[in-house]
Amino acid sequence: MEEEREVELQVEEDSEAGRETEIPPPQLAEPGTQGIIRGRDLFGYVGIEAVLDQMRRKTMKAGFEFNIMVVGQSGLGKSTLVNTLFKSKVSRKSCTPSYEEKISRTVHLKSVSHIIEEKGVKMRLTVIDTPGFGDQINNENCWDPIVKYINEQYEKYLTEELHITRKRRIPDTRVHCCVYFLPATGHRLRPIDVEFMKRLGKIVSIVPVIAKADTLTMDERLDFKQRIRQDLQASGIRVYPQKEYDEDVEDRIRNDKIRENIPFAVVGTDKEHQVNGNKVLGRKTKWGIIEVENVAHCEFANLRDLLVRSHLQDLKDVTHYIHYETYRVRRLNESNASVSGLSALPLENGITEKYEAQSQL
């Protein structure tokens, strides 16, 4: 836990540091001080900004953890997409050529962990797969095992947190992001999509993507996305990035741009072909080569930027500060109520304000 706190330390500076300033979390503030401490103009170089370097060094040593869950019907390219996202053979499915995909009778979750490294930064990536989701004739309650798993991870973390002697660094197995694969039908959301996202949007950050989007023309894609957005709004489903968690104008502008484009239409592959003398990742068909990283062809690059390059830490933050806190409050209320004999007040997940959750600590 300590390492994570240091990572989230926001330095208060009124110089042109370029980083977003944030109200420091209450645990770190010394007793007695509240809110922002406005500094005066410095008449010399103090060296406060060197703390950024220290932070960077520490996090590089400690490494990151990221848990991503992929949900969708079989054959939508989940494993291929994960492999393409992290440019490594993380998921065994699409690597072994003789792998025979069998539709399993029940939904069971498989989690695979890998440690990948880039420029000295280590990341422990865990991919949680959900084979069997939505494949049966009767798919009622196929989301229950998934909801149970997510809550179990929160429970594990909570138990660790409540120990008297806590570990220096609690292993974080909570699901930071759930990528939900929609088949590219071109029409609207299906009932199973609505049911799943309604239930899971309250406990985890959902990123919906349109899978195998090379079957939609540009116009069809725009129409499809618009209809999906309408459906999401009509059903009250909140997907990542959620509007109410935008902290300031910059965030809002950035996230609005993303929100106008979800769900991202992606195409995944791990094969390379030659295009104009360059080697590109793509799918070769008789009528052309679909370049996966070309923004004009599909939105894989946008998804990758969102998940890995710009919002990875934010996903973890939202999971930790909002979803986990909601779960924690609910659980503590429940256990309080059972002790005192009162009925637990039901808490609406996902509606509590970020600051409200923080202030309850």
Binding site: G75, N138, V194, T215, T217, W287, G288, I289, A296, H297
Partner: protein, 369 residues
């Protein structure tokens, strides 16, 4: 024969012998052709599959009409409470004097719900209803203008996203393969590379065989067809299930206006054989096998239904008769009653035959004496 005749016969011998043996019924096909052109043809095609697989687009591309102009797509909320419906669109098409009354039976809502148990039941009920109506009309008094609404062919759309047949596909085809000609298609084939298409087709063919699904089999070529036709036929059979792409739009490709889909990475032409099997499907469905599909429906599926129906009716009658008998019989479950009735029938037959044999033997004895 006189020399004159012989001379004549040497020159026009062939025509002469032809005239002598020529009866003239070789023109029957032309007569049938003329009559049927006047009467016109009718064909009922059913399209089934999950929504969003391009069924309507394919139908429009196949018959070059727009049957679904004012369709409204339901949103997810409305779809949750929707059940499988059966909708019919009829269109009269005429080409070079030949009239075709085409009926498309659509099945919106199939496979869309969360719980799809028995979602094919409305479809099988519909097909049985059409058979029943035809059966009644056939057994009726006025048989002049029987309306043939029987479903001649069912195009089943398999999504290209999966790894072969899903449970709902298998169950649907098994419920329908004894009632209608099923042709399996791989929909939206423009999301597959050529390798993937081949793998998927092999996979689907294997699974169809493994689960014992009887899809429509192309009839064998006659041995006197020419080699080209036989080659085409062989190619057709190896190509199933057809990987199809449909399109409602016309785009410009290679200087021509073709039906196709425009992507940033290229143009998919619907009628290009190397892009998809649409042309093969169209040729098979309309140009070469339409009549055979109708024949198989009439001769095989309808006859099966009819035999089953009659058997049910007679067993019901036997049951009723049994109920009226004065001897108190314990009520038996129907299968036993059925076999008992058959045994009884066989016994009676045997008895009769034995009696006849005895009578004949007696007669022979009398004759001898």
């Amino acid at each position: 024969m006189t020399t004159n005749m012989r001379y004549k016969s040497r020159i026009i011998k062939t025509e002469d012998s032809e005239d002598k043996q020529y009866v003239g019924f070789a023109t029957l096909p032309n007569q049938v052709h003329r009559k049927s052109v006047k009467k016109g043809f009718d064909f009922t095609l059913m399209v089934a599959g999950e929504s969003g697989l391009g069924k309507s687009t394919l139908v429009n591309s196949l018959f070059l009409t727009d049957l679904y102009k004012d369709r409204k797509l339901l949103n997810a909320e409305e779809r949750i409470s929707q059940t499988v419906e059966i909708t019919k669109h009829t269109v009269d098409i005429e080409e070079k004097g030949v009239k075709l009354k085409l009926t498309i039976v659509d099945t919106p809502g199939f496979g869309d719900a969360v719980n799809n148990n028995e979602c094919w039941k409305p479809i099988t009920d519909y097909i049985d209803q059409q058979f029943e109506q035809y059966f009644r009309d056939e057994s009726g008094l006025n048989r002049k203008n029987i309306l043939d609404n029987r479903v001649h062919c069912c195009l089943y759309f398999i999504p290209p996203f999966g790894h072969g047949l899903r449970p709902v596909d298998v169950e649907f085809m098994k419920a329908l393969h004894e009632r209608v000609n099923i042709i399996a298609l791989i929909a939206k084939a423009d999301c597959l590379t050529p390798n993937e298409t081949k793998k998927l087709k092999d996979r689907v063919r294997d699974e169809i065989e493994r689960f014992g699904i009887k899809v429509y089999q192309f009839p064998e070529c006659d041995s006197d067809e020419d080699e080209e036709f036989k080659q085409m036929d062989k190619e057709l059979k190896e190509c199933t299930p057809f990987a199809v792409i449909g399109s409602n739009t016309v785009v410009e490709a290679r200087g021509q206006r073709v039906r196709g889909r425009l992507y940033p990475w290229g143009i998919v032409e619907v009628e290009n054989q190397s892009h998809c099997d649409f042309v093969k499907l169209r040729n098979m469905l309309i140009r070469s096998h339409m009549h055979d599909l109708k024949d198989v429906t009439c001769d095989v599926h309808y006859e099966n239904y009819r035999a089953h129906c009659i058997q049910q009716m007679t067993s019901k009658l036997a049951q009723d008769n049994r109920m009226d008998s004065s001897i108190p019989i314990l009520p038996l479950p129907t299968p036993d009653a059925e076999t008992e009735r058959l045994i009884k029938m066989k016994d009676e037959e045997l008895k009769r035959m034995q009696e006849m044999l005895e009578k004949m033997q007696q007669q022979m004895h009398e004759k001898d004496q």
